[in-house]
């Protein structure tokens, strides 16, 4: 286990860490000189704007996934046992298709002559097609679509464990639906909410396929930036520095959460 982690996880990370402090060769190689210039470059206003947009999009994605996923997970967990498997299967079926292919499908749906515009025109919502594709909205739709299952599964796991009579007890003790949700349901499913949010937030922050295909050339997120530095500009040291700072940021966020509110055992689902 330790060896496995060492070879495939820790070693590459260490290499990346080393590279992030190195200099860039004239033709794209790595020059082994120590400098902090890569990290200093991160504070370029151009990059800061990209981080800001990525953060905003990842937060919006997480929020939307939570708002969509919570009622979905709840209804699956409360469905008759023989139906639960079917619903869960339906949630997971999209994974059987390549993510890239599914993102292309969204391009067909969202483009100006696409299904969405046709539908809206046929329904009489509008008369002229609007440009849906290549916007932040398209990225948001794509990300939410892609990551909703990551939200639903941990939420479902938390809700399935929940004794439904606890919810009934709150109802019996004069709680309104709203109070039942805030005072009993949400606190008791919080481990699932936290796990789901982490599982959605982290990959959507670093996403690059979705923004690349659905966002067009105008919009860049951190994921695209890293890809760009590595593969287009061939500035590996800068790419590494961006990757590392992103990772550190996420790690700090998660640690801060557990420091203030919680105990790790709750996240791991001790119940």
């Amino acid at each position: 286990m330790l060896l496995w982690m060492g070879i495939f996880f820790i070693l590459p990370l260490l290499v990346m860490l080393a590279v992030s402090f190195a200099g860039r060769g004239t033709y794209g190689g790595v020059e082994w000189t120590f400098s902090l210039t890569n990290y200093a470059q991160l504070f370029d206003p151009l990059y800061l704007r990209i981080y800001g947009r990525s953060l905003a999009l990842a937060l919006a994605t997480t929020t939307l996934c939570l708002l969509l996923g919570y009622p979905l997970a709840y209804s699956i967990a409360r469905a008759p046992v023989r139906w639960r498997g079917v619903w869960l299967l339906l949630v997971m079926i999209p994974f059987w298709t390549n993510f890239l292919v599914r993102t292309y499908a969204w391009m067909f749906i969202l483009r100006t002559e696409g299904l969405m515009n046709q539908l809206l025109i046929n329904l009489g919502v509008m008369s002229q097609p609007i440009e849906l594709l290549y916007s932040d909205w398209a990225i948001l739709i794509g990300l939410v679509y892609g990551y909703v299952p990551f939200m639903v599964l941990p939420l479902y796991a938390a809700m399935e464990r929940l004794d439904s009579s606890v919810v009934e007890a709150a109802w019996d003790l004069y709680a309104t639906s709203w109070s039942v949700f805030w005072r009993v349901l949400l606190p008791l499913t919080k481990p699932g909410v936290v796990a789901g949010c982490i599982l959605v937030f982290i990959p959507s922050l670093g996403a690059f396929i979705t923004p690349d295909l659905l966002g067009g050339a105008k919009s860049m997120m951190v994921g695209n930036l890293i890809q760009h530095e590595y593969l287009v500009v061939r500035d590996w040291p800068l790419g590494s520095a961006i990757s590392f700072s992103l990772m550190a940021l996420v790690l700090l966020g998660v640690l801060a959460y557990f420091k203030t509110d919680g105990r790790l055992d709750r996240f791991e689902g001790g119940g």
């Binding site: 009579s165 606890v166 009934e168 007890a169 109802w171 019996d172 709680a175 309104t176 606190p187 008791l188």
Partner: protein, 365 residues
């Protein structure tokens, strides 16, 4: 109507195609401890959930203190349920659990504190107020669940198999305590249980239920001493039965003949109301009322029938015998373990079963 706390009128509820509650009518009086006794699947819990409002009746009506509950959701009904699994809120302290109902009804802070503390005092858990439910024993959790219901001073407290999860000794202690608490607060209790002894000990009145119907309602004595149907008789422990016809009639007794055990001759029984010669009757006897011996005690018993011991079970405090009276009649007998050797019988031995006319319950058809 002031005397009636809960009234069920012609209540029916389907679960899929099966009729879980079959046109049930009941009246529960104010301040009484009322038990619904029956085997699992009898529709007891469904009835309780209908009263609490978690399920809607397909037919009929529920009135609580004279008010129809037809369109009243659970959170607006003046009842509180003590769940079989207790359903305590695991993320709240014992105190917050108990105070939850008051908080939801926006009782003032000082009132809430004093009432919740008083409720915890009543169930003797004041020292555990800041614990979490999972840190408590089963018996303590049960008390929290009870306090959480009582603190709201509802018109009715509903209890779903309240002592089902407790071990035997704790169960017996809680039976007495539950009854005492109910008398103290004077709130109507409706308790669902499959445990006949529990129902008899705690209740002012008992309703015996089977297949969604109430078969008999009465005081514990009435139900225990004079069951009106074979089901009730068997459910409360009258497991030995014998069919026959009345032969001769006396003032308070009569004799019956049983074709299943011709050797017994005529058996002396209590005279049931409306009895006539040749009326079909069924004799029901509790296993513990049968006296088993090797020889007759002249004059001590009205009836004596010989039988062969088929099976012996040793349970520690008593001996249980399966005795065969004839090819088709197999009875049970239970004797306290006296330790005396003349009270022990072996398989295959022929013994004499003796009992008095008053020991039996007679059902007429």
């Amino acid at each position: 109507m002031a005397d009636t706390s809960v009234e069920l009128r012609d209540l029916a509820k389907y679960h899929g195609a099966t009729l879980a509650v079959d046109h049930l009518s009941l009246e529960v009086r104010s301040g009484e401890f009322f038990s619904i006794l029956g085997p699992s699947g009898a529709g007891k819990t469904t009835t309780l959930r209908l009263v609490a409002g978690f399920e809607r009746p397909d037919q009929g009506e529920i009135l609580i203190e004279g008010r129809s509950m037809r369109h009243v959701p659970p959170n607006l009904r003046p009842v509180n349920l003590v769940f079989q699994t207790y359903a305590l809120f695991p993320h709240m302290t014992v105190f917050d659990n108990v105070a939850f109902g008051l908080e939801m009804r926006r009782v003032s802070r000082s009132d809430l504190r004093s009432r919740a503390s008083a409720a915890l005092d009543m169930v003797k858990l004041s020292d555990k107020h800041d614990r979490h439910p999972l840190q408590l024993s089963g018996g303590e959790q049960q008390r929290v669940a009870l306090a959480r219901a009582l603190v709201n001073r509802p018109a009715v407290v509903l209890l779903d198999e309240p002592l089902g999860a407790l071990d035997q000794q704790l169960r017996q202690e809680m039976q007495v305590e539950l009854k005492a608490i109910q008398k103290q607060v004077g709130i109507t209790f409706i308790c669902v249980t499959h445990h006949q002894e529990e129902a008899l000990i705690m209740s002012d009145r008992v309703a015996v239920m089977d297949h969604g119907r109430v078969l008999q309602v009465g005081s514990p004595q009435e139900v225990y001493e004079s069951p009106t149907t074979e089901f009730v008789a068997r459910f409360i422990g009258l497991s030995n039965h014998l069919k026959g016809r009345i032969a001769t009639l006396h003032d308070t007794t009569c004799t019956m003949t049983a074709p299943d055990i011709p050797a017994a001759g005529s058996i002396l029984i209590r005279r049931p109301p409306g009895a006539m010669e040749a009326t079909r009757v069924m004799l029901l006897l509790r296993p513990e009322r049968l006296h088993v011996s090797h020889n007759v005690h002249p004059g001590r018993f009205h009836n004596a029938v010989s039988a062969r011991v088929d099976k012996v079970t040793y349970t520690g405090n008593e001996m249980q015998y399966l005795v065969r009276l004839s090819d088709s009649v197999l009875w049970k007998a239970r004797l306290p373990n006296s330790g005396a050797s003349q009270d022990r019988f072996r398989v295959g031995e022929t013994v004499l079963l003796c009992w008095n006319a008053d020991d039996g319950v007679i059902l007429t058809e």
